[in-house]
């Protein structure tokens, strides 16, 4: 297997490159990514929805100049949707056409050719030419356990076995990112093959930088207010008041909405009107309303 061209000599270099495409990675996360590239291990990202797990894979694809292949997992997903499928229609047509001239043996051989293979993300990632691909296995906790077991060979060796074609091994190991929202625990065997990174809600400065770079038209004052409001929402006295705290994605959406509404500063009314962007549950919106005044207080410092 060829060493993947990571192109980054140090963690700092990687952090800067990611910042260049608008992804502000904390040092800890950058270290894990750096190790995942150097050690050729898949990286498992866990954390609440909206903290930037999927975005990281997209950003990595950009900075590495590799194609991003994305496999969205769901309950009941099968191997053929993740790996490959035979193009039955084309095979049938070929059989029809060859029926009169070829023998049965020949037909069988012809029908199981790579050109009748429909490649799905996992196989595409293995066969991606240098510099390889970034493979995102998104929300792997949604797939069921048999699928996880199927992933083991892939994650451990970067290879898969196809009965008709034999074993296919990666020429360049794809940089593999798995994400999980922890709807259930993953199998230990999967975790053992991966490096692990827990992604938390960002610190205030980092979130400020993210919102600023994503929604520059919001202006510094409003951005400051937004990040302060959201980080307070997630902080200790309030943390248990809500079913689910808003993630970075929600802060960015909120900033966009406030800009669209020509808001210059946050006030209780505008927060109440736009609370549906921060929270997606009726109970959470209801729990927010009595807290708005307290959350909008300026810093004591």
């Amino acid at each position: 297997m060829v060493e993947p061209v990571s192109g980054f000599a140090s963690i700092d270099e990687l952090t800067h490159a990611l910042q260049g495409v608008g992804y502000h990675a904390p040092r800890q996360l950058a270290t894990s990514v750096y190790l995942a590239m150097k050690l050729q291990r898949p990286l498992l990202l866990e954390g609440e929805p909206g903290v930037g797990k999927t975005e990281l894979a997209k950003a990595l694809a950009k900075v590495l100049g590799r194609p991003l292949l994305r496999l969205q997992c769901y309950d009941g997903m099968e191997q053929r949707e993740a790996l490959y499928e035979w193009n039955h229609t084309a095979q049938l047509l070929h059989m029809r056409a060859a029926q009169d001239t070829n023998t049965a043996d020949e037909i069988e051989r012809e029908v199981y050719q790579p050109r009748y293979l429909i490649r799905r993300p996992l196989l595409q990632a293995l066969q991606a030419p240098a510099p390889g691909a970034v493979l995102l296995i998104d929300e792997v906790d949604r797939a069921d356990e048999p699928f996880e077991a199927f992933l083991l060979e892939y994650l451990g060796e970067y290879q898969v076995s196809i009965p008709e074609l034999g074993t296919i091994k990666a020429e360049v190991a794809p940089l593999t990112i798995l994400t999980s929202n922890r709807t259930r625990d993953l199998n230990d065997a999967v975790k053992r093959r991966c490096l692990y990174q827990w992604m938390d809600y960002p610190e205030r400065e980092r979130e400020l930088a993210i919102v600023q770079s994503q929604v520059p038209e919001a202006g510094p004052a409003l951005t400051e207010q937004i990040t302060q409001f959201v980080s307070r929402l997630r902080s200790m006295p309030f943390v248990n008041a809500f079913q689910r705290s808003p993630g970075i994605a929600e802060s960015v959406e909120w900033a966009k909405a406030l800009v669209a509404l020509d808001t210059l500063t946050l006030d209780p009314e505008v927060v109440q009107d736009t609370a549906g962007i921060l929270f997606k549950q009726r109970e959470d919106v209801a729990a927010l309303i009595p807290l708005i005044d307290e959350l909008l207080q300026p810093d004591p410092a």
Binding site: I11, Q28, S32, L35, E46, D75, D185, D188, Y196, W198
Partner: protein, 389 residues
């Protein structure tokens, strides 16, 4: 244990020692992980402590609930070399006077173990929940240590969850999915198949009902007589029922909502939060009044008569039996099963003589013992059996 020792080859030793300490604290770390950790540290270097920390964390930890244990142990062993040296030099406890550092009990024990490596093999098979009851009453009342698990309890819970799973049987839900068996034909799949085989239908794909987990409501008695059981059972149920719809309440003199605590992943965190939330800890039991609160404020936790209620109590109620009767009848009418887990069943010839116990005995769908390991195994089976009725 100084990082500068790397040139003389101490670093791999230190990482190995660290990995073993993690394992003692209940974090699953095998030798291949340790080898990988040594590689990883070689890559990021040891110039920056935060990089070293991040690298070791990415390799050693694979569950969110272990992160804090990792951080605390890392702090203890790498950022505070004096402490580590103290431990390794097997110094006497007198040097650690004053305020003990606020660490998890598990971390503390993992560190302590480094001091006394020559420990005889523990007879794990003999661990029983009953052992928790040997603490003297005085100790128990003075120091109601509901908050954290120590390492051996943590290991016990981890083992229990693995060995004694609670496979509550799922019930068929209203939604369907593709399957080979089932009542309804799956027309979309049938058409797709026909397209694939030139209009032939080789077999008829079906839609089967998607299995659905029954929601669970745990009501735990935290009165003085129940304290140790309540804590270990909460820890066990928190682990064993993870991933299914569940709600938990504690009751003593009044009802405490433990749902925010149960949303935590780490069992230690859950117990910490429960400890902070419960105001009437180790007080009396007023089951009737608590159930009234449940009915008035949290009736929505009982979902369409599908909820399985686990009532963990010894039935020694100090409230009005008549009020209790009414509430239990209401509860029974609004759930699928009402199971009473009673630790007092450990006594031979136990009879529900107390008035509260009589009410529970009369209405509960089943009374199950929960006081030791083998009983806990029975519990899972008995629950599955009751569910099938």
């Amino acid at each position: 244990m100084k990082l500068g020792d790397a040139r003389s080859g101490k670093l791999p030793d230190n990482i190995t020692g660290f990995g073993r300490a993690l394992r003692r604290a209940g974090v699953p770390v095998d030798s291949s992980r340790i080898a990988l950790a040594i590689d990883a540290v070689g890559l990021v270097g040891i110039e920056r402590k935060d990089d070293l920390h991040a690298a070791l964390r990415a390799v050693f930890v694979s569950r969110q609930q272990d992160l804090e244990v990792f951080d605390q142990l890392f702090d203890a062993l790498f950022r505070n070399p004096e402490l580590a040296q103290q431990l390794l030099a097997q110094m006497l406890p007198k040097v650690r006077q004053g305020q003990p550092p606020k660490r998890k009990a598990r971390v503390q024990e993992a560190l302590a173990a480094a001091r006394t490596p020559a420990e005889g093999p523990r007879k794990e098979s003999e661990i029983q929940l009953d052992a928790a009851m040997t603490a003297s009453d005085q100790q128990r009342l003075r120091h109601a240590d509901f908050a954290t698990l120590n390492a051996s309890e943590f290991h016990l819970i981890e083992r229990l969850v693995r060995d004694v799973p609670m496979p509550l049987p799922p019930v068929p839900g209203r939604r369907t999915r593709a399957g080979t068996r089932g009542q309804r034909p799956h027309w979309a799949a049938a058409l797709q198949q026909a397209r694939r085989f030139e209009g032939e239908l080789l077999w008829l794909p079906k839609r089967s009902r998607r299995p659905q987990a029954l929601p669970l409501l745990v009501l735990v008695d935290i009165s003085g007589s129940m304290e140790r059981y309540a804590r270990l059972l909460l820890a066990f149920l928190h682990n064993a029922t993870h991933g299914r719809p569940r709600a938990a309440f504690a009751f003593g003199t009044d009802l405490t909502d433990l749902r925010p605590a149960f949303r935590q992943r780490d069992t230690d965190h859950m117990l910490d939060m429960a400890n902070a939330a419960i105001a009437d800890f180790a007080g009396g039991t007023r089951l009737g009044a608590s159930l009234t609160t449940l009915r008035e404020r949290h009736a929505r936790t009982l979902v369409g008569r599908r909820t399985v209620v686990l009532l963990i109590s010894d039935g020694l109620d100090t409230g009005e039996p008549e009020a209790l009767n009414q509430e239990v009848v209401w509860l029974k009418r609004h759930c699928r099963q009402l199971l009473w887990l009673n630790p007092l069943l450990r006594f031979d010839g136990y009879a529900p003589l107390a008035s509260g116990a009589q009410v529970l005995h009369q209405h509960a769908d089943g009374m199950l013992a929960v006081h030791n390991l083998s009983r806990l195994e029975d519990l899972a089976q008995a629950m599955a059996q009751l569910m099938r009725r």
